[in-house]
């Protein structure tokens, strides 16, 4: 069994051409608009003595290949399971196993990649939304004339917050879906990937953060509606006051002019 810590770290960067000739490459479109490059590598027939070394070499090459898209980020995950290996990064993944197991592994990785990509996209949008919270939180308490021009901007952020909540609501059941019973390789692989990428915890954090955004911008929306409504009434009152003032002025001028003449 090979784990991440056992991957030779000094291996030179490799290109896809150095993989065994039987390796297939697939490009899987993801829900976030990106693409996952998937290398499907059947284990070559080797004698038992060379098996571990061959697997270690393939895993090392696949890890380097997957690392090329995570420059400066987390190293790819290596998930060993029942003699198979999955090397996982956000944009590249490789499955290594005997030919009969590869279709199930491929399906499991594709399924997981979709959900993970969706969650990652939501997280990215939440982070960019949270940047505005400091400035906007005051408007959830009190709205004034000076902030009126920001109405559309706040409405846009409210829509974005609701959209994030809606996506999380849709995503949560898919992530919490139990593995099939009796256990299958694909099901187990999905569980392992979910655990190793901490998808469940990330989902919980994302839900909390999206809740915060929704609360802030719901508050902003309420304050805006209250302000606009009271402003409309105040405007009408002021116009009535102006008309009364004008009437008084007209009367006064008429009286003064009569008195003067």
């Amino acid at each position: 069994m090979i784990t991440t810590s056992q991957i030779p770290s000094t291996a030179p960067p490799i290109t896809a051409e150095v993989f065994p000739p039987a390796t297939r490459f697939e490009r899987l479109p993801l829900d976030d608009g990106g693409v996952l490059e998937l290398a499907i590598m059947p284990l070559p027939a080797v004698n038992a003595a060379d098996h571990d070394a061959t697997v270690a070499e393939l895993v090392g090459k696949a890890t380097d290949w997957a690392s090329a898209t995570t420059l400066g980020g987390d190293p790819p995950l290596v998930v060993p399971l029942y003699g198979t290996h999955v090397i996982w990064s956000q944009r590249r993944a490789a499955v290594i196993g005997t030919a009969d197991r590869l279709p199930a592994m491929q399906a499991a990785v594709a399924d997981f990649a979709d959900r993970e990509a969706e969650l990652r996209d939501i997280e990215r949008r939440i982070v960019s939304g949270l940047e505005h919270v400091d400035d906007d939180a005051a408007l959830a308490f009190e709205f004034d004339e000076q902030s009126l021009h920001r109405r559309r901007e706040l409405a846009g952020r409210f829509r974005e917050a609701v959209s994030l909540r809606q996506r999380l609501v849709v995503l949560a059941p898919a992530i919490h879906r139990p593995a099939p019973q009796p256990p299958t390789l694909a099901g187990q692989l999905g569980e392992r990937l979910r655990d190793r990428t901490r998808v469940v915890e990330r989902l919980e954090h994302a839900v909390e953060q999206a809740d915060l955004l929704e609360r802030v911008y719901t508050g902003c929306g309420d304050r805006v509606a209250e302000f606009v409504s009271s402003r409309r009434h105040a405007t009408l009152e002021w116009v009535i006051i102006l008309l009364l003032v004008v009437e008084v002025v007209l009367l006064a001028v008429d009286l003064l002019a009569t008195h003067t003449s």
Binding site: R231, T235, L242
Partner: protein
């Protein structure tokens, strides 16, 4: 842009205000020193020479810009987190200061009998008080107020018998409560109706011209064409033309001036045209000057200094030509008014006004030095916390 900004002077506003000072100096020197010389069909150059008409923009521009500047200052103060009550206090103090300063100015420059002639300083002081209310109300209220101020002015003049207060082109009132109040409202030099519409229009137009961020430019905003200052300014100018064309249909009692475009009294066309012209000028200059990355050249530097000391220059330009006029009249004819409008030929008056403007440019930069007394430093000392 989040609306947080540092209040910075806009070169376009400084240039416009400096232009108003130049026009004001020119018109007062020429009309007060030489207004009756070589004029065969009337006492005023302004009423008899169409090429002299641009000088009529000085006071409207000045008052319009007072509203613009107040809006930018108030918005910047709010953006800095300054308390609204504090802004109100400063505004009211400044308004009252300008009204009292205006009375003192009238007594010292125009003689005590003209203390209630309702000059531009008392108008701007009143405008400060009105703008503090406008600041707290929706723009629609200000817009309605503007319409009422402009629309009711001819009616008030008719009711008050405007012509009875004006003899030979000058405002002449009795020291009675009725005359004084009528002068303030409708018949004086700068009565509330319709002159208050100009600072109010400046206040309302400022965010459209300079953006809600107050001068950081409003480029890229999604403002509709209805909020474009160029469209609004052009519409007002077009309405001015319509008002002029509709003159034959106006009841004779409401017509207080023979001309379509006149300053005393301000005809409806004049008020609308100067507001529209002010908006167009401010928007065009803002678009061309304020976004320039290069610093201020000598012209803009001097314009900035003159703009910063416009109140001082307003007082000084009167003192510089009216006091000598009174003294020379008293000495040569025994009557302080003896040389009024006949003191010099027009060319000499123009030279004197140019000389004063050079002096004003020189003086303005020196007034910027810390601790130098000026009308502005007095205003700040008295009114600012």
């Amino acid at each position: 842009m989040t609306g947080r900004r540092v209040a910075a002077r806009l070169p376009s506003i400084d240039l416009l205000r400096a232009a108003a000072i130049v026009l004001m100096t020119l018109v007062h020197f020429v009309e007060n020193l030489a207004g009756s010389i070589d004029i065969h069909d009337g006492p005023f150059i302004g009423a008899n020479r169409y090429w002299w008409m641009p000088t009529g923009f000085a006071a409207p521009l000045f008052t319009f810009l007072s509203g613009v500047s107040y809006r930018l200052w108030a918005d910047a103060a709010a953006a800095r987190g300054r308390d609204s009550e504090e802004v109100s206090k400063i505004t009211v103090r400044r308004g009252l200061f300008l009204i009292l300063f205006g009375f003192a100015f009238n007594v010292l420059v125009w003689m005590p009998e003209d203390v209630f002639n309702w000059d531009v300083l008392t108008l701007i002081g009143t405008a400060m008080l009105a703008l503090d209310i406008a600041r707290r109300t929706a723009p629609a209220v200000g817009l309605v107020a503007c319409g009422l101020l402009v629309g009711l002015a001819p009616i008030l003049r008719a009711v008050a018998d405007y012509r009875a207060f004006w003899t030979a082109g000058f405002y002449d009132y009795d020291f009675t409560l009725g005359d004084v109040l009528l002068g303030y409202l409708a018949t004086g030099y700068f009565p509330v109706f319709p002159w208050l519409a100009l600072p109010l229009a400046g206040f309302l137009a400022a965010p459209l011209i300079y953006g809600h961020d107050g001068g950081e430019t409003n480029r890229g905003s999604k403002a509709s064409w209805r909020e474009s200052p160029l469209v609004i300014g052009s519409l007002l100018v077009a309405v001015t033309g319509i008002v002029m064309a509709g003159r034959p249909f106006v009841p004779a009692r409401l017509i207080t001036h023979d001309r379509l475009w006149a300053m005393f009294p301000p005809t409806t066309a004049y008020v609308l045209g100067t507001i529209g012209g002010g908006i167009l000028l401010a928007a065009l200059l803002h678009g061309t000057l304020d976004g320039r990355p290069s610093g201020r050249g000598p012209l803009l530097r001097i314009a900035g200094a003159m703009s910063r000391h416009s109140l001082t220059l307003y007082v000084l330009h009167h003192v510089a030509h009216v006091w000598p006029l009174w003294i020379a009249g008293l000495v040569t004819t025994g009557d302080p008014d003896g040389l009024w409008q006949v003191a010099t030929p027009v060319s000499t008056a123009v030279v004197w006004s140019a000389a004063f403007l050079f002096f004003a440019a020189w003086l303005s930069e020196r007034l910027d030095r810390p601790g130098t007394p000026s009308a502005e430093s007095l205003l700040r000392w008295l009114c600012d916390p």
